[in-house]
């Protein structure tokens, strides 16, 4: 018993008070202070993130300020060009692809996310109730979320086929359309269609996160409100919504940032077309980087500049959300 107490003492012991030899003995016996143990456990994690998340970001920024060679062959040095690549992205002569993509991404993100939020909240309220075979319904409703984006794009490209699409067929049968409608090849409609598809796909994910938030609201609050004679709507407005705020922040950030980085859906659905009507920022950056061959691989520099701009925009969006919605520990 005395031994185990000593053990606890050792585990909690702070370094500095002990001699070097004692400390090595402690290490050999794998008895570490909390701080040492945290260092041992966190170092691999942080190195991993340093190598695969922070280094690439910094390298992208660096590459965006230089001429672009993927591999430096002898005689091909990367040259510092200042903000030249940014100028080529933002103010190229005779085209506005970046600004078009910026507009497309903004529309796509800030139309789809609020709509998903409203639908998702409704769905979450529906799914709060318990019923028989709920697991089957839940699995089916969650399915669109688990569907890979680019495969989803192919599925909808087929369902919205300009001549033989099933959506056209249903609408014709219902008498809403007279003939098949080219949902994806009309420049002024394609973006709406794409936004609708993403709403279909991710509403259930929104519902899932909000369901989590709803279940953490104590039932007593609703009971108390009922006893006080509060209507359903009052309960929703004065209990559900305020207590759901932290979850809303999580849901908004988890949906907005991926939507802002949409790539698979435009790639598989329209390839960014017709023209540039559905070209999102990431699709633009990817095409700028990889569809620009040539002796200098100039695309990688332009692509890096575009990627850096996307990073800055994403951080601005996150910052706006956190500053407007974050409340430090209300409960």
């Amino acid at each position: 018993m005395a031994d185990s107490t000593a053990n606890v003492q050792d585990t909690i012991a702070r370094p500095g008070k002990e001699g070097l030899r004692a400390r090595f003995r402690r290490y050999r016996e794998l008895r570490l202070t909390e701080e040492e143990l945290a260092t041992v456990l966190l170092t691999p994690v942080l190195l991993f993130l340093l190598g695969l998340s922070f280094y690439p970001i910094l390298d992208t920024v660096w590459a965006s300020l230089h001429t672009g060679y993927v591999i430096e062959l002898p005689g091909q040095q990367r040259e510092f060009v200042g903000l030249e690549n940014y100028r080529q992205v933002l103010f190229p002569i005779g085209e506005t692809r970046f600004w078009n993509a910026f507009g497309v991404s903004l529309f796509y993100t800030f139309v789809s996310v609020p709509v998903e939020l409203v639908f998702g909240l409704g769905l979450a309220l529906l799914l709060q109730k318990e019923f028989k075979y709920k697991y089957v319904a839940q699995a089916a409703i969650l399915f669109p979320w688990a569907l890979p984006t680019v495969i989803n794009a192919k599925v909808w490209a087929w369902m919205l086929h300009p001549d033989y699409g099933v959506i056209s067929d249903i609408l014709v049968r219902l008498g809403i359309l007279a003939q098949p409608f080219p949902f994806l090849s009309k420049p002024d409609i394609a973006l709406y269609t794409m936004t609708g598809i993403t709403i279909w796909k991710t509403t259930s994910f929104m519902a899932l996160i909000l369901l989590a938030g709803l279940s953490s609201i104590p039932d007593q609050l609703y009971e108390a409100a009922r006893i006080d004679g509060a209507s359903r709507w009052r309960q929703f407005r004065d209990i559900t919504l305020p207590l759901l705020k932290p979850t809303l922040l999580v849901a908004l950030i988890f949906r907005t940032l991926p939507a802002f980085q949409a790539f698979g859906l435009p790639f598989g659905l329209t390839g960014g077309g017709p023209g540039e009507a559905t070209s999102t920022l990431v699709l633009y950056a990817q095409q700028a980087a990889y569809n620009n061959p040539g002796p200098t691989n100039g695309g990688f520099a332009i692509g890096s500049a575009a990627a850096t701009l996307i990073t800055l925009l994403a951080l601005v969006i996150a910052l706006i959300y956190v500053t407007t919605l974050y409340e430090p520990e209300v409960r």
Binding site: E35, A139, Y164, L211
Partner: protein
Amino acid sequence: MSVRDLTLEDIAFWEVGKRLGYFGSILAIVFVSMFPVLWILISSLKPSGELFVFPIEYLPYTISFDGGISVVQQYPLTLENYRTALAQRPVGQYLLNSFIVASGTAILDLVLGALAGYSLSRLQFRYKLPVLLLILFTALLPFISRLIPLYSLAIQLNGTAVSGFLGLNTYLGLILPYAAFQLPFAVWIFQAYFKELPDSLEEAGLMDGLSRIGVLFRIILPVSMPAMATAAIIVFIYAWNEFLFALTFMTQDSKRTITVGIALFGNQFSTPWGTITAAVFLSLIPLLLFMFFFQQKIVEGMTSGVGKA
């Protein structure tokens, strides 16, 4: 009509209506969610000529009322599209590749996420909050901004001693970046779960002479199966669905994941919808099974972990 005027029948009628409305809307949502899958299945079983008719014939058989009721065949069901799809492209290999990459990513993130989550929830040390924020911050960084440097790194590894297992067209070449991108979520799930465990659990272990590491592996981790399942499922689904990096890093057909394989079906001149729908449906089978087995875990995990942010 005031409440007092309502008869028992009225109330019963109202209740039935409410239930019908409720289950009706649930059924409608289920139908809207699953219709695309159903449509892909129907399309994939049609003979090639049947795909391109309008108005569409939905079911292979229909009931005709001309001269008495009879069942009329609209089109024969065929597995032709599946045969073509499997002959043209290694769909099975794509699925296997996706499975290896997604499982590898999940395992790596479970290990790293549990270590970091434990440190950040149950140990006291300096810079705890900055380290947590640093890890979570990486979740905000767009994937595209990490693509080009990692791609050129992978190209530079080509032909070196490690190119057999690291770099372009290798599983680890995708697993490592995926794991790094999803690690913040795994860390978050674990630290949220560990934080809720009672202190007495750990103290008992320490009293019994276990070291902190012993406590982590013998006591904390065994009771953390729910957190592990949630983290594993979320990371697995992400890795299974990822497209941008898979498209860039897997240039050999035999190494492609299912998302890239399907996206690159066909060529610029024609889109073979029959074979595509067959390949798509094949790719959906594992996902459908996965969802029906794990949806409870997904919902539970989200409800206990991520939501309590």
